[in-house]
Every structure is written in C-alpha cells, then in structure tokens.
C-alpha cells in the first residue's frame, strides 16, 4: 500500500474519533476541525517514522494531544478577554474577603459516582466550563489534560506558579457557583 493510500484509510477510519475528542476538549467546532486537519498533516509528514510498533490510532491520538496542548498554550498567551483580578473576586467576596451572602457555598448532597454518570449533570458541567474566560478554560484544561506536573504546565504556559493557581482559584469559584445555581439549587 502506498503512503497516500495508508493516510487516506486512516482519515476515513479515525477522523470521527479524533474529531469528537478534539471537540470534547475545545468545545469549539472550528478549532476541532483545524486540530484534526493539522494532525493528519503532521501524520503525512512523519509517516516515515511510524513503524507499525504502535497502533495507528494511538499514534494519531499522540499527535492530536500535542496539537491540543499547543492550542491551549496559544490561548493562554494571547487571551482574548482580559479580566481584572480584583473585579472578578468582587462577585464572590466583600471588601474584607468574606463570602457575599449569595455566594456562600451551601452543602451539596450527592453521590459522586452517580453524579459523574448523570447525563444532565454532564451537560450542565460542560455549559459551565464554556462560560469561563478562554484563558481560564485553557489553564484548567491543561491541568487535567494528562495530569502533568503543574510546574511543567506553568513553563509551557509561560506563567509563574503563583499566577497559575490564582487563575485556577478564580476559575473554580466561577465554576462552583455556576454548578450550584444550575444544578444543585434546582
């Protein structure tokens, strides 16, 4: 089989899985399409180095994961929305750093395992993630993408560890409140 033919078969066989994964990570159709196209471009360039030692699927997913990490890095370095630090905290805390009345976390009565498999909750969770500013979304996603050492993630994102956990702090406050409003209080 020619290399062209091999790639063509891979495109037909794996585009579906690669696209769904890229969409799941980025929540954006255009970005997911771009990432999958780039993945096959890299695959076509590097096909010589693919030696049938791994499954094509694993190999392609490896390329895609690198592309996704690169995508998040760019988003963090060039944030589209810039949110002032203090402004975003004011939503949750008063001047003395005490919880505002409407933001005080209530108890959630839940069974974690059932919750994670609940389709309704998964949907709300995804919606709440999408509401995060792009930079925060990228920081949070990078933290869990491959459960890498946070120090390494910071290096990749060009952030100090302090900046990084502060972004995570704001993102988690917003995510938590969104979940409470749309799931636990309804």
């Amino acid at each position: 089989m020619t290399q062209e033919k091999i790639i063509e078969n891979w495109v037909k066989e794996y585009t579906n899985d690669l696209f769904n994964w890229a969409y799941h990570k980025t929540s954006d159709y255009q970005s997911a399409e771009d990432l999958v196209q780039e993945t096959f471009l890299v695959a076509a360039e590097k096909i010589e180095s693919f030696r049938n030692e791994s499954q094509p699927r694993t190999w392609l997913f490896g390329i895609l994961k690198n592309k996704i990490a690169e995508y998040f890095r760019l988003k963090v370095k060039h944030p589209i929305i810039h949110v002032e630090k203090e402004e975003s905290f004011e939503l949750f805390f008063d001047n003395n750093g005490k919880w505002n009345k409407h933001s005080r976390p209530d108890e959630w009565n839940i069974n974690e395992e059932q919750l994670f498999d609940n389709e309704g909750f998964n949907h709300i969770f995804e919606q709440c993630m999408k509401k995060l500013p792009a930079q925060w979304f990228s920081c949070i996603s990078m933290k869990y993408l491959e459960e890498r050492d946070p120090k390494l993630v910071c290096q990749e994102l060009d952030l100090s560890t302090t900046n990084y956990w502060q972004i995570i702090h704001r993102a988690k406050l917003q995510l938590r409140e969104c979940l409470e409003q749309h799931w636990f209080h309804t």
Partner: protein
C-alpha cells in the same frame, strides 16, 4: 484569622503546588470555624474529580452535529491532499 477569599485561594494553591506549614495551619484553623469554606473545600475536590473524569472519558452523548462535521471534514482533508 485569614479571610474566606484567602482560605479558598489556599485550597486551590494546595492542589497546584502544595502549602507551607504556616499556610496549612492557617487553613486548618479557618475551615474548622467556617462551614462555607468547608463546603467549598469538599466541592473543590469534587470539581477536580469531575475534571479528571471528563478528561478521560468522552461524553456518552456525542452531539448530532458532530457527524455532519466529520463527513465534511473527511472530504476536506482528502481533497486537499489530492490537489
């Protein structure tokens, strides 16, 4: 005593780079007396677990639009390659 803003910050800092002894102590004292931050602490861990869960599993329901995108994308990639 540290504020709730500081306490929740320490909870997130802990999950990223860990805390110094003094910070651990401050957080411990705070959460012992603040039910809202105790709730936050539990929920923060829950959100972490949920994020870990979703980063490994594809959702059970893939949006129907994805299928249309995929067939369009396949022909896009193949046409580009042949041209």
């Amino acid at each position: 005593m540290i504020s709730c803003k500081k306490a929740t910050g320490l909870i997130e800092k802990r999950s990223v780079i860990g805390l110094s002894f003094a910070e651990k102590f401050q957080l411990h004292i705070h959460t012992a007396m603040c039910s809202a931050c105790t709730n936050y602490q539990k929920q923060s861990v829950l959100i972490d677990n949920m994020l870990k869960h979703t980063s490994k599993h594809l959702p059970a329901n893939i949006p129907a639009e994805n299928t249309d995108h995929v067939s369009g994308l396949i022909s896009k990639i193949l046409n580009k390659k042949n041209s």
